[in-house]
Symmetry: C2
Subunit: 221 residues, 2 copies
DNA sequence: TCCCTTGTTGTACGATCGTTCAACAACGGA
DNA sequence: TCCGTTGTTGAACGATCGTACAACAAGGGA
């Protein structure tokens, strides 16, 4: 056995790196980006921090993504679509009536993985980029519609079943419910000790009760 | 007239800089910081950007503040207390009954200077620092109480007047109202075209109506 | 008028940022 | 077994960051 081969087998026992398909590596980099965002917030968004988290060298990121902004946009898209999937699945597993589906939706909103300080940290970073980054704006438009459609659809079903469609403005109702959900979620993430997740769910259910009860009043025009 | 004096008068006609009292200069630097935050978000928080906005040299900031973090904390404190003052003044100018005071509060929430994308930009930057900066946490605790007390006090007055105190949980009511306010404000700042400020006020008033009407139900336990 | 205090300037330094790129090496196919 | 493709490495570059500090000068008091 020649020396060269001997050396090779000795080295080959622990390769200096493992090649991966571009799609797998891209996904790993996206996951590392989100993990860094959760851990360090805005400060975690450096090429060196992310590459260290992914266990690769600094140069690899620019081999799979044209620049840092594109990597962040990809992470934003992945983060968004995964949360929407969580809510969609929770609703799909619920009984087929509107009230039960909305209840499952509330439960998903106010439990893991959504009800998490780390998730707020990630959102805050993305919000901070929204105004100045066209990439983030585009991804937002592409993913946010799925969420809005989900909520609006459930509300429309509820209103139809309760025969309360006459005087209720579906648009305003969706805006109000969304605001209540976002506000409660935000409050909890900022100060988790102030109330319990079940109380947040109760507040949302109560809001639905009041929405259905005022179907013969002109409350929301 | 000696040459030296001649040169001096020629220069003195336009002094290279104007001295100011430390307190005035500190305030100017704080204002410049907030202005930079509004304009450029997180990217505007550099010593050079802020000093340029204030029209001073890079070294001056560290003469009036021990470091950058202290300047940001001072800006956060000023920003917070000014917003609380806006709300407090709006409530103070309103008629003395609870409902009118809450209405004035809603109006102030959903109009300038609070209902502004720039204000959201500033908040987002501060939120992003909250978890990792003890300075920001301390300032938050010192200023947020004034806001909470204002809202909770008005709600307590309303409940007392409406004789609805029996079954209403003041704590949960304040949490729910705050969530609705924050959520609507956030939604509007992110996408101002979706609804009008008056509709946000109407949604809040409606929430109050429902709160008072359910005083003989066990809705919120 | 001169001096002393101190607010103010601007250069310099080391650290860290995103990006580039030449060189390396893993690994499938011939 | 060797070769070619290409995923991967890591040093290097210029830009920008926060901070330090020596020098300057404005403006009031003696």
């Amino acid at each position: 056995m020649p020396l060269k081969a001997l050396a090779k087998t000795a080295v080959t026992s622990k390769p200096r790196f493992v090649r991966q398909l571009p799609e797998q590596r891209r996904q790993a980099l996206v996951s590392a980006t989100i993990e860094c965002l959760k851990r360090y917030g805005h400060e975690g968004l450096s090429i060196r921090t992310i590459s260290a988290q992914a266990g690769v060298s600094v140069g690899l990121i620019n081999h799979h993504f044209p620049n840092k902004d594109e990597l962040i946009a990809a992470a934003y898209r992945h983060f968004n679509s995964e949360l929407v999937a969580v809510f969609t699945n929770a609703v799909a597993r619920a009984p087929a009536n509107p009230r039960a589906r909305l209840h499952a939706f509330f439960q998903a909103q106010f439990s893991l993985p959504n009800l998490d300080q780390d998730v707020l940290t990630v959102w805050v970073v993305f919000w901070g980029m929204y105004r100045h980054s066209r990439l983030i704006q585009r991804v937002h438009r592409e993913t946010y519609q799925g969420y809005v459609q989900l909520v609006r659809g459930m509300l429309a079903d509820l209103i139809r079943q309760e025969r309360a469609h006459a005087r209720i403005d579906l648009r305003l109702a969706a805006i109000g419910l969304n605001a209540l959900l976002d506000g409660l979620w935000l409050e909890y993430c900022l100060e988790p000790g102030n109330f319990k997740p079940a109380e947040a769910v109760a507040l949302c259910e109560n809001w639905l009760d009041n929405l259905c009860r005022r179907n013969d009043r002109a409350a929301l025009e």
